[in-house]
């Protein structure tokens, strides 16, 4: 784990992935609003313990319109309690992966995928894509600033919709260029060469097995309790 109070808990990335999947199953299987609220509450508690509150709020701000739209569609086609459940399920499910990605670095993610026998090249491409999200984000900001400085409105909104090519074209071209340069740099560092070794060693330790067993137990218990209600 990377931040705050969770720093001391060093789980193997595979354990984190499996725990996230258990939680996702739990959310998908939950039918009652109270259960969904409880599951979201647990996630919010983890977010607070990880001291990721600000990042979570920023992320939630982006997610909320989609959740509201999703809820509105369900309301229109079924009813409002179903709409509340659907919107909550979407938020809780995606919050699970927010927590997972906050607690797992792209490198760890890639390495764990290699450990579950995904080819190294595929796992590396996946983890590098995550790694470069902030880089592309910085490029997007630079393009945004450069166009605004020329008086070309590219701020989000209907009025500037026709100017979006001014934002998207340079960004896409630069993303392609960055990808080309990255590919060249990786080639020049022996990427894809057979018989690769790894500096980091991942081993499932007692704490991982305990976490996995605990997770499985909680999943089974909650599913059982939900089934009997």
């Amino acid at each position: 784990m990377r931040s705050g109070c969770m720093r001391g808990v060093m789980l193997d990335p595979r354990t984190k992935l499996v725990l996230a999947l258990f939680y996702a199953i739990l959310i998908v299987a939950s039918q009652a609003t109270a259960w969904l609220a409880a599951e979201l509450g647990v996630l919010l508690l983890i977010v607070l313990i990880m001291q990721k509150g600000r990042a979570y709020l920023r992320w939630l701000r982006m997610l909320l319109p989609m959740a509201l739209f999703f809820g509105a569609v369900v309301w229109w086609s079924i009813d409002w309690p179903a709409a509340v459940d659907a919107a909550m399920k979407l938020i809780t499910l995606t919050s699970t992966f927010f927590v997972f990605f906050s607690a797992t670095t792209p490198d760890e993610m890639g390495d764990s995928l290699v450990k579950v026998r995904l080819p190294y090249t595929v796992a590396f491409v996946f983890s590098t894509a995550l790694q470069f999200v902030p880089v592309v984000g910085r490029k997007a900001k630079n393009v945004f600033d450069a166009q605004r400085a020329r008086g070309i409105p590219v701020e989000p909104g209907w009025s500037s919709l026709r100017n979006y090519p001014a934002f998207l074209t340079p960004l896409l071209i630069q993303a392609f260029k960055l990808a080309e340069e990255l590919a060249e740099a990786m080639e020049a560092r022996g990427f894809g060469r057979p018989h690769r070794s790894f500096l980091k060693e991942y081993k499932l330790r007692t704490v991982d097995w305990l976490a996995l067993a605990g997770g499985l137990l909680v999943l089974a218990a909650v599913l059982f309790l939900q089934g009997t209600n």
Binding site: T128, D145, A188, S197, K200
Partner: protein, 539 residues
């Protein structure tokens, strides 16, 4: 010194697939010895980067094109080896640090190549410790490479290659985006590696940075090698013809008939002790700016905060019509942040900015863009039209300031006529900059602000830009240059605003600022060669 060749190029010709009819390299014969320090120089587009990519097999294996002749590494043609076979022997450091650092920590970055070779874990750890010891990066191991300064990033890239224990490290324009203090760090690291018998090949057009370090220099022009020899001898030939600027120290040494030519200021001062330097080589500085012109920009006690950190602290200055002000400082001093405040892209936490008398806090960015035309460092951030003409006019139209007569004047001033129907993305780096500068002026702003206008640009471009700035100034254009290129700012700015850690350390004429040794040290900058040689009474 008896040296055997490690890399040999024979009758080498290469053309990129997208430009098959034009040889990027033409009849190259070159030997590179292990453990030598070689400088490959030439103007932008001369083919020096292409030549470097033949040394480690990126050409022909990664780039598609037409290859004739051959390159051998340790006697084996690169056509018979893959890049994966070559990368640990001929390591390459690229110009853009952002794209060549793709791991989460410096430790993993250095480990990447070693993992590719398949070394055992203990050996990887040993090599990481050994290489970081040499480059002084041990404390950086857990840090994210993308959070480092550009100089530190270059050092990480060099360390990652060094850990492979290559025979030769090839660096493509390693100083392109670095400020003087970072240049010094990288130069020192390269000199230390060279002392360890590792061959260094540096592709660069900024000769003052490399001349005194290199044992041999090769000048490339239009894909062919035109000069080849020890720097002190090669500089006696016509290097200007290769689009290279003769540095001041050897120029003066040449005129004073000092042989071998002094390659840096220190050597010149030692060899020419007591002599007067030729006065006609002293760069022409702008006269003091008469302060009777209308003020177009007033910055008063501006403070800018980002979270807990203060980026700008109590910054104040004014700019008048026809004046050229250079905001100088090291990377991270707050120069670009200050520039963004002028156009409203960032707002002051405290203080006031008045642009043409208008409080910028009350104005939208689109309103301020009518008064301040900005060209940021990377022109690719703004290009989205299919032709250069559309690219120049789009901003003027958005600002309702479309004036065909003025735009035609700009086309002439920036010499863009032959480029007007071409795609901006297909231009050279210097041409792109010219288009971006013209676009910034298209809306007839009172202030032109250029962010690092000379970064990565060669002598020809710098000279042309100097000419354009002079013409603009004479027309009454107020100009702000944001730069760490002091020798350019020395010639073309009336005044310098020296920034260090977000504060104005000195505001004055270029040589006044440089004569303040404490301020320069605080800003991690060094005086220009011209200042060091001419301001001390030798002329």
């Amino acid at each position: 010194m008896a040296l055997t060749n490690f890399i040999e190029a024979r009758r080498l010709q290469y053309a990129y697939l997208k430009n098959k009819n034009n040889w990027a390299l033409n009849q190259i014969d070159l030997d590179v010895h292990p453990s030598e320090y070689l400088l490959i120089c030439g103007a932008s587009g001369s083919g020096k980067s292409t030549l470097c990519r033949t040394f480690n097999g990126l050409i022909p294996h990664f780039y598609q094109g037409v290859l004739r002749g051959q390159v051998t590494v340790a006697g084996t043609p690169t056509t018979e080896l893959s890049v994966a076979d070559l990368f640990a022997r001929v390591a390459m450091v690229f110009q853009n640090p952002e794209a060549q650092l793709f791991n989460r920590s410096v430790e993993m970055e250095i480990a990447f190549g070693l993992e590719s070779v398949g070394l055992p874990r203990a050996e990887i750890k040993r090599r990481i410790a050994e290489s970081t010891d040499l480059t002084g990066l041990t404390e950086f191991l857990p840090r994210n490479p993308h959070a480092l300064s550009s100089g530190e990033q270059q050092l990480v890239a060099i360390t990652a290659m060094l850990a492979l224990r290559p025979r030769i490290i090839v660096l493509d324009e390693p100083y392109a985006n670095l400020d003087p203090s970072n240049v010094r760090r990288v130069r020192n690291a390269l000199k230390a590696l060279h002392q360890q018998q590792i061959g260094i090949v540096v592709c660069e057009h900024r000769l003052p940075y490399t001349l005194s370090d290199a044992q041999r220099m090769v000048a490339v022009k239009a894909g062919a090698i035109v000069l080849n020899g020890p720097p002190a001898e090669t500089l006696l030939q016509n290097i200007q013809d290769c689009g290279l600027e003769m540095p001041l120290a050897p120029s003066i040494g040449h005129r004073l008939a000092i042989r071998p030519l002094p390659l840096d200021v220190k050597t010149l001062e030692e060899k020419a002790a007591g002599q007067n330097y030729p006065i006609d080589l002293k760069p022409e500085l702008l006269p003091p700016f008469a302060r009777n012109h209308p003020v177009v920009l007033e910055v008063q006690n501006v403070v800018s905060k980002l979270g807990e950190s203060t980026i700008l602290q109590d910054v104040s200055f004014t700019l008048s019509r026809g004046e050229c002000l250079a905001i100088v400082g090291a990377n991270g001093a707050g120069k670009t942040t200050l520039l963004k405040h002028l156009i409203g892209l960032q707002r002051p936490s405290r203080g006031q900015i008045r642009v043409m008398g208008q409080d910028s806090a009350q104005a939208k960015v689109s309103q301020l863009a009518r008064y301040v035309g900005v060209a940021f460092q990377n022109p690719d951030n703004q290009f989205f039209k299919l032709t250069v003409w559309d690219e120049i006019t789009v901003g003027a139209k958005a600002l309702n300031r479309y004036d065909p007569g003025w735009l035609q004047e700009l086309v002439e001033l920036f010499r863009l006529e032959p480029l007007l129907n071409r795609s901006p993305y297909r231009l050279s780096g210097g041409e792109k900059k010219r288009v971006a500068f013209a676009a910034a002026l298209a809306g007839q702003p009172a202030i032109l602000a250029l962010d690092e206008p000379t970064a990565g640009q060669d002598y020809t471009f710098r000279r042309a830009l100097g000419r354009i700035l002079t013409q603009l100034r004479e027309r009454g254009q107020a100009i702000v240059l944001v730069t760490h290129d002091l020798s350019f700012a020395e010639r073309y700015a009336h005044r310098w605003l020296l920034l260090a850690e977000g504060r104005v350390v000195v505001d004055g004429r270029p040589w006044e600022v440089m004569s303040n040794a404490n301020a320069m040290q605080q800003a991690s900058l060094e005086p220009t060669d011209a200042f060091r040689l001419y301001a001390r009474g030798h002329a």
